[in-house]
């Protein structure tokens, strides 16, 4: 198989990495066995690889301490990845509520559609006979002058009697006003 110089170099690069498929590998090995310049190229790439891998050694690091430091830092921002899991019964209730809402909306839409379509489909008689329309401005009436201004309860209001109102509006037996820390419900079973 004839290869260009670039193809040969690419194949040698992958040969060093061991990323050639078996067919490509046997092909490149045949070339290397018969071509001195290909072998020289392989040597160059191997020397380069050795330099690249050894010229930058990693200094000693106390890995346990480093990992502990990261663990401490992640503990501080634990809240940001907190995931709330709903209990099984809340999922069922949520689903039921969603279905109920969906049905309600659908029913309402349907109801509205039918009332609109009643109007749209109803026949309307149009009288096409031309008629004369007389438009006249209303006669201006002079407003009576205001002589007396009364501020306060008009006379006779006191006699008004709202019987039965007290039976509609009744005072609650107790009022609970929540404020501050104590007002928060901390019972975890509720969530």
């Amino acid at each position: 198989m004839q290869m260009t110089r670039d193809e040969l170099e690419f194949a040698i690069s992958r040969y060093i990495d061991g990323t050639l498929n078996p067919l490509e590998q046997s092909t490149i090995e045949e070339i290397l066995a018969s071509d001195a310049s290909a072998r020289a190229l392989l040597d160059e790439y191997r020397r380069l690889d050795a330099v690249v891998k050894t010229a930058m050694p990693l200094p000693e690091i106390a890995w346990d301490q480093f990992a502990a430091g990261i663990s401490q830092e992640t503990a501080k921002c634990d809240v940001s990845v907190k995931h709330y899991q709903l209990a099984a019964w809340t999922k069922v209730v949520s689903l039921a509520a969603m279905i109920a809402i969906a049905f309600g909306v659908a029913f309402e839409m349907r109801h509205r559609d039918s009332s609109i379509s009643d109007v749209q489909t109803g026949s309307v008689a149009v009288n096409s006979t031309p008629v004369d329309v007389e438009i006249s401005a209303p006669t201006a009436v002079a407003a009576a002058p205001v002589n007396d201004i009364t501020i306060g309860q008009p006379s006779g209001f006191a006699a008004a009697n709202f019987r039965g109102a007290d039976s509609i509006i009744s005072a609650p037996s107790s009022i609970w006003i929540a404020s501050g820390e104590g007002s928060q419900d901390t019972d975890p079973s509720l969530y």
Partner: protein, 209 residues
């Protein structure tokens, strides 16, 4: 000359690490078990620091960036679409943060204030960084230091994808699939970036090989 032993690459399919898979650890963390993340840190901290270190050339900076990368991964873990791809995703965060850090450092070094300090710190971090000071006899130390400087300069001349492909695949020996996830490209593209990077490095370092 006989071509030496046919290379085989265990990284091609991704190394199967011991213990629970990355995916199950990610799921545990998302379910509220933070200990799962500690295990991920233990699993990837060396790789993450090494990648950052080789991009920045300074241990302190690399550790700082790696810590930030882990925190970012932790807080945005629920955005990870494939939990099994955690490793590649984390390396993407590490390399992005490292490159951003390096850019901001370059900008800082260009400020007149640095000149007032004689640029000593910037020279240390950019020119003769720590990784060239690693042990050995003085002669070997000098050689490796020179080689380290040359390699770093050559790596810096590569386009970003090629540099990262060389760093993650050739130096860090990460599986190709994970490198592809980190670089957001295909496995075939990783092979191509590695090759192109090698070709340029060979040209840039030909006097030293």
């Amino acid at each position: 000359m006989e071509p030496s032993t046919p290379p085989t690459d265990p990284r091609q399919t991704g190394t199967a690490s011991q213990g629970p898979s990355d995916g199950s650890l990610v799921s545990r963390v998302l379910a509220g078990d933070r200990k799962g993340f500690d295990e991920l840190v233990l699993r990837y901290q060396r790789q993450a620091v090494a990648v950052s270190y080789r991009l920045l050339g300074n241990t302190q900076d690399a550790m700082e960036v790696t810590q930030d990368a882990f925190l970012k991964a932790f807080t945005s873990l629920d955005s990870l679409q494939k939990p099994e791809a955690f490793g590649g995703w984390l390396m993407r965060i590490v390399s992005n943060l490292s490159l951003n850090y390096r850019r901001s450092r370059k900008i800082r070094q260009q400020l007149p204030l640095d000149d007032a300090f004689g640029n000593s710190q910037s020279e240390q971090t950019e020119g003769s960084s720590e990784w060239m000071n690693a042990g050995g006899d003085p002669e070997h130390l000098l050689e490796s230091r020179e080689m380290g400087v040359k390699l770093k300069e050559a790596l810096n001349q590569l386009p970003e994808k090629q540099r990262l492909a060389i760093l993650l695949f050739t130096i860090q020996e990460m599986p190709q699939k994970q490198v592809a996830e980190a670089l957001e490209c295909s496995v075939e593209a990783v092979k191509w970036h590695v090759f192109q990077g090698r070709k340029k490095l060979k040209e840039l370092l030909k006097e030293h090989l």
